[in-house]
Symmetry: C2
Subunit: 181 residues, 2 copies
DNA sequence: TACACTGATGACAGTTAATGACATCAACGT
DNA sequence: ACGTTGATGTCATTAACTGTCATCAGTGTA
């Protein structure tokens, strides 16, 4: 993180990272599958947290409510570390390769959530859509939170984004099917 | 595409591609910024198509309906080339690096759609969420279409997915805010 | 014809991410 | 003392990219 912030991601070589850490390149690649993965090592924990939240949700909730609860749980867990998350995000935003890696982590998270929903008995198109919608909310809310005031609560932004999405998708022409021919 | 299908993406070197095309490596990298980009050169056209659809939509439509129309327009354009799209998708699905690139193209598409909505006067959180939801629908529907029967119409799958998402996000506990303590 | 300019390509060297193979060394139990 | 195991170092190699200069075809102009 120190080197990435100082001189950027591309300009930092693995040799430099290894030297600063007192290791060799080879050891670096034993710990991280590639140069980007250093910044995403903790993504697995977040995914497990959200999947657990899905599993722990009451059976009475609708699929989307279950996902919403998982997203809020993730927001709570990320509460105190706003500064660290912000630095990390700054590094990621400055580099396209890192953005790609972030996106695939989110996609994996979406699949995991969908899978957890299916295990609860939700049908597949519904499960995937609810999960993807949840990821979309998470992404948008996170960005609003990072760019917003320093004392804002991520959970509040998430709540608000969930409500907004709900309103948006309701405001449709009732029963009218899109024509396409 | 020939080499990627024969031996996979990782196992195909740029030198081999260049040789088959009767060019040098250097020339390959002058046409494509990196090895993956060969498969995504046409993504820009699709994005322009969808942005145009957003701009051309009647002012009376809700933001989500506008996005839905753009997604359907993309589905129509992709109608005849199912076989080619399927081969391409098979190559992409078999490799994580290519999945990453695909995701960032979709993310760029999402931002472009959100921007087009904002130009129509839609507020920012609403625009981003509508766009992201549209992308989610597109992704889920496209996957269902690719894996589904060969004679299926992508536009129909998209229509159905849009309707499903609409239903999902409506089926919430009315007015109840998620607790997170 | 001669000349200048431009754009695309080739030729070549160099950097760096990433991987495989083997050696070393400390910790641990028997 | 001995073998095992896990983490690390060392060395060699592949292949993605990049910088730089040379070449060459096409085009306009005197």
């Amino acid at each position: 993180m120190t080197l990435y912030l100082e001189r950027g991601f591309e300009e930092t070589t693995v040799a430099e990272i290894a030297e600063l850490a007192g290791l060799t390149e080879r050891t670096f690649f034993r710990h991280f599958s590639d140069k980007r993965e250093v910044l995403f090592a903790g993504a697995g924990a977040l995914q497990e947290l959200m999947v657990s939240a899905v599993r722990a949700a009451p059976a009475s909730l609708s699929p989307f409510d279950v996902v919403a609860r998982a997203v809020v749980a993730a927001g709570d867990a990320m509460g105190p570390g706003q500064e660290r998350a912000l630095l990390r995000q700054r590094v990621i935003d400055a580099n396209d390769d890192l953005k790609e890696r972030e996106l695939i982590k989110l996609a994996a998270l979406g699949r995991a959530l969908a899978h957890a929903l299916i295990e609860r008995g939700v049908d597949d198109p519904v499960a995937s859509l609810a999960a993807e919608a949840g990821i979309a909310v998470f992404r948008v809310a996170f960005e609003r939170w990072v760019r917003g005031p320093a004392d804002a609560d991520l959970s509040d932004v998430i709540d608000s984004s969930i409500a907004t999405l709900s309103v948006i998708t309701q405001a449709r022409e009732p029963g009218k099917r899109q024509d396409h021919g």
